[in-house]
């Protein structure tokens, strides 16, 4: 690999800067058109330090996240690839970690993965060979020790920056902060949380995290997301396990009415209010925006809440990919 591009490792630099870091999620391609990914990337590029690409979220098939991440890297974005244990055994995980790194992707969010029972192909065989914490340990072993799980040497070792997720809103609540500690023990270098709607519960979680000293061991980014409609809020509350959407928020969305502009405005306002409350919580390193299929909301949320990337955005038209783009925009 030649000299690394300035955007390569931008996420880690941002976390080290001490300023609040902003990341957001862009869904992976849902068709064979790379331009669709580029279009979404450009909507968020100037507002964030890094962009996550989820891995078959909710058990619904999309393009491999590392493929979309490689396109993001060509757009000058430092991508964070999601890697789940649902669809890959430990061999596939190791080869994907290495393969993603060859394409200029070093940030990996290690996840267990939503079960396929919630998706559109529930008849699939679940893999779950290893779990998310073991995956963090595998990525750490590859990068730090330069060894595969078998002990065989990787030459040269990949430059990985593994992270993990936390969900403060699912039982057992007392165990959740300890589980974050366990992920850090395994080698997680950053934590991104589930979407925060219940700020009170999140405050309790963070208080315990601070008591345990975990916030000083790892940067924690709070997940936030705008609600687009009452229906979407009710779906998240009733159909997405591990999500907590308090009723007052749903009532506010209902009061905003059915007109698209009105309800979207209200959804963004709620999101900005949550960010303002989260800003007061000590121990948070930044925010992770999850505008589910609504990437254009990222700019508006950042503008209203004053969130800015911790690192300066790369020059327009620059690429963070070590591979020359095969498909020019």
């Amino acid at each position: 690999m030649s000299a690394p591009h300035p955007a390569y490792g931008r996420f880690e630099q941002a976390l080290r800067s001490g300023r609040p870091v902003v990341t957001c999620e862009v869904r992976s391609a849902d068709g064979a058109d790379p331009a669709a990914v580029r279009k979404r990337a450009r909507l968020v590029r100037d507002w964030v330090d890094a962009v996550n690409v989820p891995d078959n979220t909710g058990g619904v098939v999309h393009a491999s996240p590392w493929a979309s991440c490689a396109i993001l890297a060509q757009e000058g974005i430092d991508p964070i690839v999601h890697m789940t244990c649902r669809d890959r055994n430990r061999m596939a995980l190791q080869s994907d970690l290495l393969g993603a790194n060859l394409l200029g992707i070093r940030n990996v969010l290690c996840l267990t993965g939503d079960h396929m029972i919630h998706g559109d192909q529930p008849e699939t065989k679940p893999v779950y060979d290893v779990d998310s914490i073991q995956l963090v340990a595998i990525a750490t072993k590859l990068a730090r020790e330069g060894k595969y799980l078998s002990g065989r040497e990787v030459k040269p070792p990949p430059n990985l920056f593994p992270g993990a997720a936390a969900n403060p809103f699912a039982p057992p609540y007392e165990y959740r902060p300890l589980r974050v500690g366990k992920k850090v023990d395994a080698g997680a270098r950053f934590i991104q949380t589930q979407i925060v709607y219940n700020v009170d519960r999140f405050e309790e979680f963070m208080a315990r995290v601070r008591d345990l000293g975990i916030d000083r061991r790892v940067p924690i980014l709070a997940g936030v997301a705008p609600i687009r409609s009452v229906k979407a809020a009710q779906f998240m509350r009733d159909q997405v396990p591990g999500m907590e959407v308090p009723d007052p928020l749903i009532r506010r969305m209902a009061a905003a009415g059915d007109a698209k502009a009105r309800r979207e405005e209200e959804g963004i306002r709620i999101c900005v209010e949550i960010i303002e409350r989260l800003k007061k919580i000590p121990g948070l390193a930044g925010f992770h925006l999850m505008p589910i299929e609504w990437e254009s909301a990222v700019a508006e949320i950042c503008r209203q809440s004053g969130l800015r990337p911790a690192t300066s955005p790369p020059a327009a038209g620059s690429s963070a990919s070590p591979v020359s783009p095969l498909l020019n925009p």
Binding site: H115, Y128, D131, S132, I133, Q134, L149, P171, P172, D185
Partner: protein, 142 residues
Amino acid sequence: MTTALENLPPAIAWFGRLLRRYPRAGRQLNRAAAPFENLTKVLMFGCNMCGQCILHETGMTCPMNCPKTLRDGPCGGVRMNGHCEVKPEMMCVWVKAERRSRWLPWREEILRVQEPLDWRLKGSSAILNMFSGPLLDERGRP
């Protein structure tokens, strides 16, 4: 599993060494013992015979009953009532494990990061595996 081996009482460590010296006999003994272990542990803990028991670290709750076979704690999909996201009628294995582990004097063990599972050992006796280490034949079977 190596840590368990180091801490065994001398008599058991000797027995483990004996099994390792005669691996064929060790495997036969393992096959003979597995059904008895299965019977008792299935009745008491709903064991799944993964062959690498960590019941004592998970509040005596078998983590292999989790539909995602998670050995390091609950996933993010646990329902508000503490039930499983995949099997809504079942209490989450890890909600039970966390609650029960509080009663155990060695409750911090639940925080240990587990090694990935050796799937070859499924169905074999975890107790003998702990004594002797995995005894695999030339085709990699227990």
